[in-house]
Symmetry: C2
Subunit: 351 residues, 2 copies
């Protein structure tokens, strides 16, 4: 019998945002890896690729021409997961097992830059601020559509995350329902706010700043940290210090501070394994259902799959799919490793 040591002993941690547990196995990072290695492209990309359907002036699958855009550029996804058609639907309440309902929505693609060869960490602050402005405009425009109650801004980066084009871009899926993960988060945020008259994340960020060992970057307005309950090896979250519930409520100073921390965090990611670090990222913020939502608190999740190197990722498979998420390195250790990374991009040193 020994006393519990959270840095050494297998344990579970609780995620109060979605009310789920994660299994943490600190000792397991040592096991040898004989499984699949990811392929990474080391190929230098051209600034402009005539075959890329996202580059300025090129033709897309539906025959339309992209404009000669000079900063960011937004268009409707040619193969959207949802449609804008209004559908007549009478719910059959007898269906316990076959419960379905039509979903209306809009999917857009956001090109981050006309440059085919740049990614977020390699762009300058001005370019990143333009992306933030684009997200703000899209959140407002889409959110103002009567039937749109939720606007999901996200990015899949890298082929290992299903991204089919290296041209820097993200997506926005706006829809009538709250998606499952957002609904879970909303329930937790609401319950906390009703009890404490403060947002859960306002108190959480303060608690993390007091402890310090999961903080990766801090500036006047934002914190990038590895959540206590992170499931991916180098998962992080950027949280605003102020309880601001949506990106359109940022002050000018907050927008700049957000651009800075985005650049710093993604630079550290790239420097970790000297590779363009794959991830899925996305913003969780207030629904656009017309209600106040004082319980919401702006945050951006980063879910990167890499575990040990540029080619070995964590597989969330059998046990994880059937049981629960499991991680092999503690969040504290990951935060420490990310903190140590330089904020100067490795590619800029080579050049």
């Amino acid at each position: 019998m020994k006393n519990f040591d959270i840095n050494e002993d297998p344990h579970r941690r609780f995620n109060p945002l979605i009310n789920e547990w994660v299994l943490v196995s600190p000792h397991r990072a040592k096991r040898p890896w004989q499984g699949q290695n990811e392929t990474i492209s080391t190929e230098e990309l051209p600034k402009y690729d005539p075959t890329c359907y996202l580059c300025p002036g090129n033709v897309r699958a539906n025959g339309m021409h992209n404009p000669a855009y000079e900063s960011s550029f937004v268009f409707e996804n040619d193969f959207a997961a949802m449609k804008q058609d209004e559908i007549i639907f009478e719910e059959d309440i007898k269906h316990t097992f076959f419960k379905a309902k039509p979903e209306q929505g809009i999917s857009r693609v956001v090109c981050f830059s006309p440059r085919h060869d740049l990614t977020l960490p390699e762009m300058d602050l001005e370019g990143i601020e333009t992306i933030i402005k684009t997200w703000q405009r899209e959140y407002t425009d889409l959110g103002n559509i009567k039937y749109i109650n939720h606007v999901q801004i996200f990015e899949n980066k890298g082929s290992v995350m299903g991204c089919s084009n290296p041209h820097p871009h993200g997506q926005i899926w706006a829809q009538s329902s709250l998606p499952t993960q957002v609904e879970k988060t909303q329930n937790s945020l609401k319950a906390y706010y009703d009890r404490n008259k403060k947002t859960l994340l306002e108190d959480y960020v303060q608690a993390e700043l007091r402890v310090g060992d999961r903080i990766v970057i801090e500036n006047d307005h934002f914190v990038a940290l590895v959540p206590f309950w992170a499931i991916w090896p180098y998962e992080t979250m950027i949280v605003s210090k102020r309880a601001v519930n949506k990106i359109t409520n940022f002050t000018a100073e907050e927008s700049t501070a957000f651009a800075k921390i985005l650049k710093q965090l993604t630079t550290k990611y790239d420097n970790l394994f000297n590779t363009s670090f794959p991830y899925s990222s996305g913003i969780h913020q207030s629904p656009t259902d017309g209600l106040e939502h004082p319980e919401w608190h702006f945050h951006m999740h980063f879910y990167p799959p890499l575990l040990r190197s540029a080619t070995v990722k964590k597989f969330m498979v059998g046990y994880e799919m059937l049981g629960e998420s499991q991680r092999d390195i503690t969040p504290e250790k990951s935060a420490e490793i990310l903190r140590q990374q330089s904020e100067v991009h490795y590619k800029s040193l080579v050049k």
Copy 2:
């Protein structure tokens, strides 16, 4: 305005086992794929591989020798995610944000066959029945350990599912807590049973048999179907017709029928793209906490990632991680395609 057509229009479906929704985009299967292709090994495997740590007689990472086993073989995982050590722990209830507790558990590896080159669909029925007997024995032995309240039997098949060795094998992770996904399922099963005095899956299977269009295989004791709420393109579930709550309660006839349907389903999977079909599978059944659990109903999930071919998988990434699971082909269509597959393994035709 048009009437809702579940075969054509984007919609959400509800999963009553875990109370979550899935977004279904029937029209989206048509989009072109320019993203990552998986590598598949077409290499013929030897019956015995001297470098494989799972083959009979060979040495494992910890220096131990495998016995010259002739059917299935079980050993403790050399790099287990949990440990058996008892840990002294006093919960700090003040920790809203830093809630953690030690977890005790045992991980085992189950070699399905001494043959390095066989997979489940290629084994004979006798061999598969031996695996079922092994699962029964392990469920009993592990479940009898005082602190073990849940026994998760699962298999990761194929390198794309993180499987690091092609030698046919599965795993068992037994532990003191109910893992997150199992706890969600238990809550749903319990609520249904309390209301209806029948298991949710007993009624669900009957409803599916009446409709018919999601059934893949049916025999006297089991049904293999694509759940109405499936998230993976060719996800299936094998469910017992009788409300039997654990594998150790199978009759001899049920064991044989289960072996048959396992072989048939995995053969259809391999025949779909003429490849050794990757998946994670696992059994959900009664916890081993000593209670009766009449609400539980034996079922086995299959989560296969492939979407269009042996090399193109569905990526559950940005929207799926931040919003909710999304699928590009209807469960009805997938069931139809699986139904059409032969029950004779493609490799046995070539030989």
